[in-house]
């Protein structure tokens, strides 16, 4: 068991985490370069940066976006706050970074981290339940839409158990192995699924605006390519 844990925390983690980072960087670079290319080809080169930045910020801190579906939106907001803060600012995680790379930053108090972890797990389950019970979202949902939030909850739940041996019915090392491996699997999935929004979200408002900026002659080029330039309407 111990050697498995060593492997999960060592090479497996390094691979999974690098896979995520490289995958996300690749997405961002490809998207940005496609945006630049689109704008370079566009007839209208004006973008209203001011309003795009404002709407991007409003979505990054979506306090003004709660009103339409209050319960769902609040659950989602709470979930996001928890899953962003805990992994990054947990004292135990920071200690690992410090030991391996010598990097360190301020940590959350353990009690706060505990509370946020519980919130993360509950809100992840709540998101799935709300998705299944609201008719519109149920009709839209694919398998991954249910699976991903639950998968995200796993490292949080197991991490919490590992930190609180008194409440943990499972052996410590097995819990830790589960914790690390579920996180590793998640890291691999991030660039391959909609979870990649964690890196792309600051750009999506720009993407939707840039998409309306067309080359001056896209229509006539299409006509030529399809042999329709002399076709009657």
């Amino acid at each position: 068991m111990e050697s498995w844990l060593e492997w999960a925390r060592g090479p497996a983690f390094i691979f999974a985490f690098s896979f995520m980072v490289i995958g996300l960087v690749r997405h961002v670079l490809l998207t940005v370069s496609q945006m630049v290319r689109t704008m370079r080809r566009a007839g209208d080169k004006n973008l209203n940066y001011g309003s795009l930045i404002v709407s991007t910020l409003k979505w990054l801190f979506p306090v003004t976006k709660m009103k339409d579906q209050l319960l769902f939106s609040l659950t989602s907001l709470v979930f996001h706050v928890a899953v962003i803060l805990v992994p990054v600012f947990l004292a135990g995680h920071i200690a690992l970074w410090e030991r391996s790379l010598g990097l360190s930053w301020p940590a959350l108090p353990n009690a706060t981290a505990d509370l946020l972890t519980i919130i993360a797990v509950i809100s992840a389950v709540a998101l799935v339940v709300e998705r299944a019970f609201a008719r519109a979202s149920r009709s839209l949902s694919r398998f991954q839409d249910y699976a991903l939030p639950l998968l995200v909850a796993l490292p949080f739940a197991s991490g919490f158990l590992a930190m609180h041996p008194a409440m943990n019915p499972f052996p410590y090392e097995a819990t830790m192995l589960f914790h690390v491996m579920s996180a590793n699997i998640l890291f691999i999935l991030v660039p391959l699924t909609k979870l990649s929004h964690m890196a792309m979200i600051p750009g999506v408002q720009f993407v939707s605006e840039v998409a309306w900026h067309w080359p001056p002659d896209a229509g006539s080029r299409l006509a030529v390519t399809l042999g329709k330039e002399n076709e009657k309407i």
Binding site: H27, L222, I233
Partner: protein
């Protein structure tokens, strides 16, 4: 010839297209290569989270509660095609596991569904991933048009505009245009007792060349007279071109290819008349499509001004005197046309004008960028055979909104919105509500005397002439 394969009529030739899936995909591949949609499709198909917030924002879903009317579900129809045929993962998955294949039936489903969306883009405001479902509808309709799945009503209008003798969507010949303009000039004398207000035709070197929705010449004389009155009292230099006097651009609703040709034709007429700016009449989509002039004409593009912007600017400068005694007494509300309001481009100008000329102005809620579509957007207003759908499903939310204001007059500076709103009111028990343009009201309240407009002296045989009734 036409047929009712869908809930709207299409031409016979739409049924004769062979090998539609292949042609659809060829068009898709070509659009991705030459256009700017690849970026959005890439990001949307990857990130779309299926959260259903858009359903709550959509006026159609609010009314029908049908799954098919959830914006994200509709867009997914096109996303599925994109994923399968234009992403490496999709192609690989199809090789190994089979699965989705584009079929004739699937194209028919898209043809039906993408015309149940008015592309009003309200749902875009609520999408955390920034997915613009209006853009997806816009693209899907273009691809469908390349396999001839186009509502006949839109197709015949564009055919007349681009290939017909009249060169405009209402098939108005130039003689009829001249007659109408002369008639309206006489109306100023008979109805308002003023003379000298002109509809200048083919005047070279004017600052503005005027492109209203051409249907205004048939249906909205008061709007046009309002336009002419504003231009006259402000000393604006403007003209109507006889080669092209139609601002309507249905290309925006089904084909970028047509849109490009129609916008370029407007610019050509402007150049012929050596005009400087395009002045668009009261029409939302005509304005938005004219704004694309920068796209199609690059740095050479002329400036585009909507008549509301012009009137507002001149009124602020004190050039449009208002007769306080003639201010509108009825309760008035304002409907924001999506094409000028959604992106926040024109929302305050009409309100400031209305507050200045109406004694009792009320807002409907929500409004401005968050307004509800009239229900006839995206060209659907021209499709008469779907009137029931437009007014009772798509337009029901709007009817509720108007009812809640208790207004007697609904002002909407858009030819399409006006036609649709009149039908919405008729079909939803709001017969007493009147739908008018903003310039219709301006026309009633302008103080022609203070503006120094010459009084019309009756030649004597017009003994039955009465001064205009006060409101």
């Amino acid at each position: 010839m036409s047929t009712s394969k869908y809930s709207y009529y299409v031409e016979e030739k739409a049924l004769e297209v062979e090998d539609r899936p292949r042609k659809f995909l060829e068009a898709f591949a070509t659009v991705l290569e030459h256009g700017s949609y690849g970026l959005a499709m890439d990001v949307y198909t990857r990130l779309s989270t299926k959260c259903s917030r858009c359903a709550a924002a959509c006026q159609l879903y609010q009314t029908t509660q049908e799954d098919r009317d959830i914006p994200c579900r509709r867009s997914e129809l096109l996303f599925t095609v994109y994923r399968r045929y234009f992403t490496r993962a999709g192609i690989a998955r199809a090789r190994i596991f089979g699965g989705f294949t584009l079929t004739d039936e699937y194209i028919d489903e898209m043809a039906e569904e993408f015309y149940r969306c008015t592309a009003c883009r309200r749902c875009k405001l609520t999408c955390p991933m920034g997915v613009d479902h209006g853009l997806v509808t816009h693209l899907a309709r273009w691809l469908l048009a390349e396999v001839e799945a186009i509502p006949k009503a839109l197709l015949v209008s564009v055919r007349e505009q681009l290939e017909g003798e009249s060169g405009n969507t209402s098939a108005i010949p130039v003689v009829a245009l001249r007659d109408t303009c002369e008639f309206l000039e006489e109306e100023f004398e008979e109805e308002y007792g003023v003379t000298g207000i002109k509809f200048p035709i083919d005047v070279e070197d004017s600052e503005f060349v005027f492109f209203p929705a051409v249907s205004d010449y048939l249906l909205e004389p008061d709007t046009l007279m309002g336009n002419a009155a504003v231009m006259h009292v402000t000393g604006g230099s403007w003209t109507i071109g006889t080669n092209n006097f139609d601002g309507i651009n249905y290309g925006l609703f089904y084909s970028d290819r047509m849109m490009e040709r129609i916008v370029k034709n407007e610019v050509e007429e402007l150049r012929r008349l050596k005009g400087k700016k395009i002045l668009v009449g009261e029409c939302g989509h005509a304005t938005r499509s004219a704004w694309f002039v920068d796209t199609f004409c690059g740095e050479e593009a002329p400036e585009v001004v909507n008549c509301l912007q012009y009137a507002h600017q001149q009124w602020k400068a004190g050039k449009i005197p208002i007769d306080e005694s003639k201010k509108i007494k009825e309760k008035v509300t304002y409907h924001d046309p999506c094409n000028i309001a959604r992106a926040g481009k024109i929302t305050e100008e009409p309100r400031e004008l209305l507050k200045a000329i109406c004694e009792d102005f009320v807002e409907m809620t929500p409004n401005r960028t968050e307004n509800y579509c009239c229900g006839g957007g995206g060209g659907t207003v021209s499709i008469d055979e779907i009137r029931d759908f437009r007014t009772k499903k798509m337009g029901k939310r709007k009817a509720d909104q108007i009812r809640a204001t208790g207004a007697e007059l609904v002002v909407s500076p858009c030819a399409n919105c006006k036609k649709q709103l009149k039908e919405v009111c008729e079909d939803n028990g709001l017969e007493s509500v009147q739908v008018v343009g903003l310039h219709d009201l301006l026309l009633k309240v302008i103080d022609f005397e203070a503006a120094g407009v010459e009084k019309f002296e009756s030649s004597g045989d017009d003994d039955d002439w009465q001064p205009p009734a006060e409101n």
